[in-house]
């Protein structure tokens, strides 16, 4: 009782757009972010870009993490960015993970995905990056 008004934890949405069922990576990342003190809203598998954006708005997240292993990332990730812009959400950064070829990763970064993590990325690096790019509340 009477706990101090602690600094607000970073709220992050982790979602998997697309139709593949490989959610282990997303779960491992969710767990790591939790252990780093963040509040992870885990939206799970087979989310449409529309669902992801609505969830991000309702949950007022500071960061969005997308995971995709179906190969459809070049269709799905840009669509999320576009919808965010259409809803005037400009201050919530998006990072991505999955099986994403280097060339695609470059293009995704160019259009505004802040970080792209492939297999083998350390959790430490993901947590550090997430902390660094998350929207900071004033």
């Amino acid at each position: 009782m009477g706990e101090p008004p602690a600094a607000t934890p970073i709220r992050v949405l982790i979602a998997k757009p697309g139709l593949d069922g490989h959610d282990r990576g997303a779960k491992v990342v969710a767990r790591a972010l939790r252990d780093a003190g963040m509040e992870v809203i885990y939206a799970g598998l087979r989310q449409t870009p529309e669902e992801i954006v609505e969830s991000a708005i309702e949950e007022d997240v500071d960061l969005i993490g997308l995971s995709c292993l179906s190969g459809a990332h070049m269709a799905l990730f840009p669509r999320v960015l576009k919808l965010l812009r259409a809803r005037k959400v400009r201050d919530v950064p998006v990072f991505a993970g999955g099986i994403i070829p280097d060339d695609d990763a470059k293009r995704l970064r160019r259009i505004g995905i802040r970080a792209v993590f492939g297999p083998g990325t350390s959790l430490e690096e993901i947590v550090r990056t997430a902390r660094g790019i998350a929207r900071h509340r004033t």
């Binding site: 008004p5 939790r34 309702e58």
Partner: protein, 328 residues
Amino acid sequence: MTGGRALPAAARAVVRGDRRALAQLITRVESRDPTVAPVLAALHPRTGHARVVGLTGPLGVGKSSLVNALLAHLRALGKTVGIVAVDPSSPFSGGSVLGDRIRLERDPADPGVFIRSMASRGRAGGVATATREVVRLLDAAGYDIILVETVGSGQVDIEIRDVASTSVVVLVPHLGDEVQTLKAGLFEIADVFCVNKSDLPGAEGAARDLSELASLGTARDGWRPVVVQASARDRTGIENLWTAIAAHEAFLDEDPRRRLESERRRVATELVELVRDRVAQEAAERLTADPAHGRLLKDVVARRVDPRTAADRIYARHRKPTTRVRRR
């Protein structure tokens, strides 16, 4: 409505149906931002229309799945629905994984639904001050029904009663023998018992035990808990569940004094909690600033003073609002 005063911009946005503004206000309430107070004050006269239904019960009984089934049912009835789903925060890292959305299917373009996940952030009992205020924001935003899903409850987690006007206790078959239902706590707060996963064997028996419990003894506030069987997976019994909830709400409305009394009880608890939280926080701050506290601590550990005597002394020192401690 607000005595002629203009609504603060954030309050206006919520009333207008701005979902982002609502979400951001919820964040401010959750993080105990003191600047949110005038917004809450301005919105208060616009609340009281929503029906607030709490769903509680042990972990894994299917609360989220039932909320999802109720959501579809209520939308089909044309009701707008706000959902607050609480999951636990880690006592170690402070972080959390809020996973209730996984089970909630909805059309993202449907403005008649607003879902918010909340971490318990160290508040015991599953739901607390912040939940109540988040519920009020959804109420002010105009949602007809607000479903509050608690963290998986234990035997004594009955706080939902202080938030919701109808409390549903969700159980599953084979949680224990009928003596469990006689125990104090969780079983006492139900306005509705829902035996979920009733596609499993044993559901009949569980429902029978609960019905027996409900028929024993005197009805609390004149209402006997209703027992329903449901299967969120098979989507059976959902209509019965809603009918039971609506029946309890109708019972409260039948006699305006009942509704008033139920609300008075919740507000009374809330006011005590709000004041107690402030007193507790102030006390904690003063204690850490007081060198005598440190000395007493040592004395207790060294067995020179016992904890009660030490607490008496601390209490006596800090009772008066003006202490010399701060000026030193």
